[in-house]
Amino acid sequence: MSDPIIGTGLAGLNAAQLGLATAGHNISNVNTPGYSRQETIQGTQVPQFAGSGFIGRGTNVVTVQRSYSSFLEIQAREGTAQAAHSDTYLSMVKGIDDLLADPSAGLSPAVDEFFHGVNEVAAHPGDIAARQSLLAAGNALAARFQLLDSQLAGARADVNGRLSSGVEQVNSIASQIASLNERIVLARGTGGQGHEPNDLLDQRDALVRDLNKLVRATVVPQDDGSYNVFLGSGQAMVVRDRANTLVAVRDRDNPQDLQVGLAAGASTVPFRATDLAGGEIGGLLAFRTETLDGVQNAIGRIALGLGDAFNNQHRLGQDLQGAPGHEFFALAPPQVLPSAANTGGATLSASIASTAALTTSDYRVRFDGANYAVTRLADGSTQTFAALPQTVDGVMISVAGTPAAGDRYLVQPTRAGARDLAVVITETGRIAAAAPIRTSGAATNRGAARISAGSVNAPPPPNPNLTQTATITFTGAGTFDVAGTGTGNPTGVAYVSGAPITYNGWTVTIDGVPSAGDQFALRANAAGTGDNRNALLLAGVQTANVLAGGSTSVQGAYAQLVSEVGNRTRAVQVTGAAQAKLLDETLADREAVSGVNLDEEAANLLRYQQAYQAAAKVMAIASTLFETILDIGR
């Protein structure tokens, strides 16, 4: 019988052809992202029993299989999500890192330049040019704060923009996965008779990995071959052939920021920022809550600390016209943002009670119907009050009207500090370089005692009787009388050489031995254009510990910020590098299983070519055999 031989040859021919086609498919898809190498699985045909035993009937291709490891695929997804998270975080935080310590664009040079201006005024208090340069330096300092803040605000806008586009991409990928799910189920069920549609599966796995670049997604494979995809803490993004919609909406509690949520009908169910770790979106959200908010608040706090300390000293001085000093800087009040969900009619307001007590955190005020809970968002610690106003961390929070139960407010004490810092003084003469008082000893004094230049007691506003003339008259070497409006005219006050004498908001010291009848006077510093006492004190603000409960100076707080951001960036760099390495290894492992090796395919081509030629030879021989039989009959 020649039949089985031809059939066997034909089966071999077919199998070799399929092998060649698969190798060709592999070669042509060598650069297709997500492609898994395919191979034909050959098996023997069911043998035929003849009297002498089972005779082989050739081969058949059982199926075409892709080289695929679901374990490696899951690892690759996870690694992709982590690496994208770090990558995004790093790209955002690097901008801030570069900005802060730039030798020309950072804050330090502007602060140094400003206090150089103050020193110039101290050296030449009556010089209009020196005063003009201080005003210019003050404006430059405010502009530098604004520049830093605008860079941070730009980063915030960038986060919002990238969230919006990220959400669109997520939606597009999710709908593609859903439609692939549909096609895969269809392909497996009807046309494929149980065979796997390898290329569709590859496409879908590639999409899931793309999705993980944006946000961490977990996949639960279903029996029918479809994937269910979940985000965050289990919110379904794709269920079989149906994709949900992710939306980026204004945060109800904080309209400056976009928030990511899942559309549910007309409303939106927002994700918590911590739920959406991983991927670009997770990286953006983490950057915003961990770094951006804190840095912007810290810069704002530095601006407020510097401005407030400078203002306080400035108000104790006297300007060139002899008028008391006013504010030098305009300072931003705390921002209060009511939640869009509030139903009550109350207005919450906040003011700064103590700059030194400020933190770099934002605060949430929530009214539960009876009490106000004030939560420091940086560490979640909560204080509860039955009534407002109350002062928390240097911020006085007060309320007008009655809020409804559940009403919420976001208080940002220092967020606008850098943005809104401005110099309010425009005339050089208004710079208060002088002190409002001066002291003198009477021309007739016989004793050796000398009076100090005197100082004005902090904090402002100064005592209303500050510049009232007061006289200190010694009634003996050990006692003196004080006379003058506001002093209460005490008599027989004990005299201690060098001890502070304080009345009417001023303090002087008298050193040495006075004679009875010696007189010292304290009066308004009329025409004191050459006086630089207040300018010297203003210059001292540069190194005064005015922040963090009086533990650090303006520059110290800035150095701390530089160090924090530097360390944060470094940490993200290191983590990112480790994750990239891990992802690299996972992808290499995945390539080892699924990747196409062209040399291997070349060898396969040779192999199947030879098999094809051999099978053809089998058929040729079968044909010759048949010819032989025919020749017998002739």
Partner: protein, 402 residues
């Protein structure tokens, strides 16, 4: 391990990109000379650099203030030197005027010259600094501090003394108010002054006197009252503050020391009966008043012996008061000189600190060029090797043999 063709390419490219990235990083460091390109490179050093840079900037401010202080103090010192010379000059003129051989007209011409010197002194007291402010006006630097009056000069400034921050904890006074330099100068010998009563008719002239026992000083005013009975001259010493007579009927000898209450003085000449000398704690007087009264003394006629005695007494008092004024100028100059020296030595400290901060900043920020240059060469070689090997590995293909 199975190696896919893509892996060979991707890995190869990745490594080349990595090498290029570190090469660029090293190149950037070399180009900027900075060890840290961003704080992330060394957060601790970056934050220290911020603080050190501020310390350096503040130190530069102190240096600038020291220069300003030296200028200001130098001007005060130079002006006071001129004032001292002028006072010496006036003293010489007054000594000259006290000489016995001079006529009233001679003295009047000397008085005219002293008047000119007075105006010169007033000019010095109204010296302006480089910025146009009055040097001796205290805080009121835009107001002319001294204006001449019939009996001296009126001071319109205040007691303010401008200070400058020349060190972290040191402020240095850089001006002296006119009230301290030219006014409030004790008369006489600085502790007590002796004045003849205006009605004295004799020729007694009191010396400036001196303190012999500071412990016995009371601060009371005393009067020495002479009694002339025949040829015998005696004197009583009365404490006019307490109205008690300390001693009475003491024998007077011209030029002999008279001591009481820790003070000693001598009276020469022949006092007339009831002539008196008041001895009391020195009052304060401005140098201008001293010179004006000297001019008044010099222009008075000296026809009688009593006039002559008054002249001698006036000259003696004027000389004592001018010496006190000169002493004051010297005291202030000494203090100013000490501050100038302090400014100089602070300047040296400031330069040392400047060097220290610069070194510290350099340690924190600057690049080790030798290391960076060798890194650059090493990375260059690595990049070359990566490129070369990539080219060789990717060139291998079985298809070349098919």
């Amino acid at each position: 391990m199975r190696v896919s063709t893509n892996l060979i390419h991707d890995r190869g490219i990745d490594r080349i990109v990595e090498q290029q990235s570190s090469l660029l990083d090293t190149q950037q460091r070399l180009a900027t000379g900075r060890r840290m390109l961003t704080p992330a490179d060394d957060a601790v050093a970056a934050s220290r650099a911020v603080v050190t840079a501020q310390s350096k900037a503040i130190n530069v401010e102190h240096g600038a203030n020291q220069v300003t202080a030296r200028e200001s103090l130098g001007l005060v010192d130079a002006t006071l030197a001129s004032v001292g010379d002028l006072l010496q000059n006036i003293r010489t003129l007054i000594v000259q005027a006290g000489g016995g051989a001079l006529t009233d007209a001679d003295r009047r011409s000397i008085a005219d010259e002293v008047s000119v010197r007075f105006d010169e002194l007033l000019g010095l007291a109204n010296t302006r600094d480089g910025a146009g402010g009055y040097l001796f006006a205290g805080y009121a630097e835009t107001i002319q501090p001294f204006s001449a009056t019939a009996t001296g000069a009126m001071y319109s400034g205040d007691d303010g003394q401008r200070e400058l921050q020349v060190g972290t904890t040191r402020t240095l006074p850089v001006t002296e108010p006119g009230s301290v330099v030219f006014e409030r100068i004790r008369t006489g010998n600085g502790t007590f002054a002796t004045l003849p009563a205006p009605a004295n008719a004799g020729t007694g002239v009191a010396s400036v006197g001196s303190v012999v026992d500071p412990m016995q000083l009371t601060g009371d005013t005393y009067q020495i009252v002479f009694r002339v009975v025949g040829m015998t001259t005696t004197y009583d010493v009365v404490d006019t503050t307490t109205s008690t007579t300390l001693s009475a009927g003491n024998t007077y000898t011209s030029g002999a020391g008279i001591s009481f209450a820790g003070m000693q003085l001598a009276i020469t000449g022949a006092p007339a009966n009831s002539d008196a000398f008041d001895v009391g704690p020195s009052p304060n007087q401005s140098v201008f008043a001293t010179i004006k009264s000297a001019i008044a003394v010099l222009t008075r006629a000296s026809s009688t012996p009593a006039d002559r005695a008054r002249l001698d007494q006036g000259v003696a008092t004027a000389l004592a008061n001018i010496d006190q004024a000169h002493e004051r100028v010297l005291t202030v100059r000494t203090a100013v000189g000490a501050r100038l020296r302090e400014a100089d030595s602070l300047g040296e400290l400031q330069q040392a600190l400047e060097l220290h901060y610069a070194k510290r900043l350099s340690e924190l920020q600057d690049l080790d060029y030798a290391k960076a240059a060798s890194d650059l060469v090493r990375q260059q070689q690595a990049l070359d090797a990566a490129r070369e090997s990539f080219q060789r590995v990717t060139r291998l293909s079985l298809f070349d043999f098919l």
